[in-house]
Symmetry: C2
Subunit: 376 residues, 2 copies
């Protein structure tokens, strides 16, 4: 796949995206200026990337739909980490799928993900595979309480997990998570008494070129990301980049990858990877020289990577469950509103606000003023 | 027209745009994050805003098409200054058209535009209305040579004008511009020995609130804008804002207006206004806190205006007639490519490149490096 030669008539490079949620929407907004066009495949009735490109509305495993999708794009990617691996493999047999299927498959299973991190020399929290109630009791004896029982697959935003603090919690959590077909697909993770949560976004090009955004400090509320703030000159930047490099080189990864860590003292413990652009990087639209969305597209289209340098100081606040009044947010200089075109529902991410300022102190003051206006 | 209340289900405010060229394309890219959706009306076969919203393909004066357009939007605007005034009036009778028809009509006639400026106390270059060859000869006697003969209407990017330096030029120019039905619609303008060309972008909200971007120094080549660079702390900023304020308040203007000036010593002479977002403001996507595109949409949608403050140093270079190789441009940190999805044609604006840097000196150095890569 090549970008058209400058003397040719204009022909857009066509990007196919599996999934058409807000990440697809923001990818398309970043990609049109590069001369890219977008085709989505998504089973949802009114996916929020819909106004930004044609959507093939179909199940991810519908091979006729996948054939139509593949016939009309030059390169494919995914914006939803739970796209069935079989669908991704079907696409990858027909055209370049970036990133590939291995990172997707690994990221979908918390156990194999941790085993992969360990094989690459990246520390992980103590954990145990849980197939039976006996496994769970043995693991609790070994790891102690508190601990977190999670489904291995399909968990996100705190779904599919339970914090175990007492013996009573164990029975309730087992009844909820263990009493179904997923029973053989749980993992118990020791509760990590972390100081901070950090993520690191890496972008890798088709030629193996690499760039890293400054690490981001994340604050979650009820298991959902609330605030993400990039940390210029964080002492853990070098270590985070080292761990990211090991993973993306292992997978011969192309595109943006997010790696989430727990910080314990001066150590980083691997939590999980997301093989896609990530909520903790949304500030980069205004706050970095080249956003995570543009950089993912540059990478998968074979273009040079963009600068990951910060532009001033910025942070992102999610809008969860309800939208703030737009005018109330927009009247604050430095506040940038991003609505996803989604109807509000409890715990649903329906937008975000990026705050920008000239100094760290001004940014903190702006956050104190704007955060109550968002109200979640 | 109101923005949906935060507790409602999501419903986009629908913006109707007359014209679907690159300005419409960039308006839509700026507007989706605000929760806006877009419907265009344009007679072109494949207008370059097409991928960003539905296009009603029709002549601007097709009333059935205008009815369909009006029925489906909440507020309308135009991105092409030669939209027929009758079409704009038809729309304005049915829903809010912002800016209104008076600024559009005035901006379409170079003579009435200059008369309006004079009535508002804004200096203009010496000029004369030309209806006959005798008018032309008399005007040359009065204004002297060199001078510029222009059609009053439908001129842009240097089209419909001729520079007169000698008597021989006069005959040729009259044969070209005077020998048709437009003969009664010419204007002779004294050649202004200007030091610089400046533009000032103003945005005015529905409540009369005003914001001004820093004035922009423009360099034209063959009558087409080549480079636009905002000038922090220019000594003529206050005067330019004063003249802009007079015009937008006169028209009770809503949206972004561009005002182009000739600088002669410490004076500003009015050249022309454009009642829309403007090529000389494209750097604002990366170079201002809130871009001209977002600010135009905020204004016409009744939202608070955004900050017009600069973010670092930036300038814009147009891509005229041919596209640079994208990778060659993108490999320079600080270079931001904007392709319009248009096929190259001689003298056609098919994209632009914004350069950003931390200091004025770094920006000038980056320009020296990137400008030859664009090659026009």
């Amino acid at each position: 796949m090549t970008i058209p030669h400058p003397t040719d008539a204009f022909r857009a490079t066509r990007i196919g995206i599996l999934g058409a949620g807000q990440l697809g929407r923001m990818l398309a907004l970043a990609g049109y200026p590069l001369g890219l066009e977008f085709l989505f495949l998504d089973p949802a009735e009114e996916p929020c990337a819909g106004p930004l490109g044609e959507v093939i509305r179909a199940d991810y495993l519908d091979t006729a739909a996948l054939d139509a999708f593949c016939a009309r794009v030059d390169v494919a990617t995914y914006e939803f980490e739970n796209v069935p691996v079989a669908a991704a493999e079907y696409v990858a047999q027909r055209l370049p799928l970036r990133p590939g299927t291995a990172a997707l498959a690994t990221g979908q299973d918390r156990l194999s993900e941790k085993q992969r991190f360990e094989s690459l020399g990246i520390p992980v929290p103590p954990h145990a595979a849980i197939d039976t109630r006996a496994d769970l009791d043995a693991a609790i004896s070994r790891l102690g309480l508190p601990a977190v029982l999670k489904t291995r697959r399909m968990g996100y935003d705190g779904k599919g997990q339970a914090v175990l603090r007492s013996a009573a919690d164990v029975d309730l959590a087992w009844a909820r998570l263990g009493g179904n077909d997923q029973a053989s697909n749980l993992i118990l993770e020791a509760f990590v008494p972390f100081d901070r949560e950090l993520s690191c976004l890496t972008v890798r090009g088709v030629g193996g070129d690499l760039a890293f955004y400054p690490v981001i400090e994340n604050v979650h509320r009820s298991g959902i990301l609330h605030c993400a703030r990039p940390q210029p000159a964080d002492p853990l930047q070098t270590l985070a980049e080292d761990y990211c490099r090991r993973v993306v080189e292992h997978f011969d990864y192309v595109g943006v990858m997010a790696f989430e860590f727990f910080v314990v003292g001066e150590r980083l413990l691997a939590n999980e990877i997301a093989p896609r652009v990530h909520n903790s990087g949304h500030w980069s639209i205004e706050g970095a020289e080249c956003s995570q969305f543009e950089n993912h597209l540059r990478a998968i289209a074979g273009l040079p990577l963009g600068s990951t340098a910060l532009r001033g100081h910025s942070l992102m606040l999610n809008c969860i469950g309800a939208e703030p009044e737009p005018a109330t947010v927009l009247q604050n200089p430095g506040a940038h509103l991003h609505r996803y075109g989604k109807s509000p529902k409890p715990l649903r991410k329906i937008g975000h606000v990026t705050l920008t300022a000239a100094s760290a102190a001004e940014l903190t003051a702006l956050q104190a003023h704007v955060e109550p206006l968002i109200g979640n």
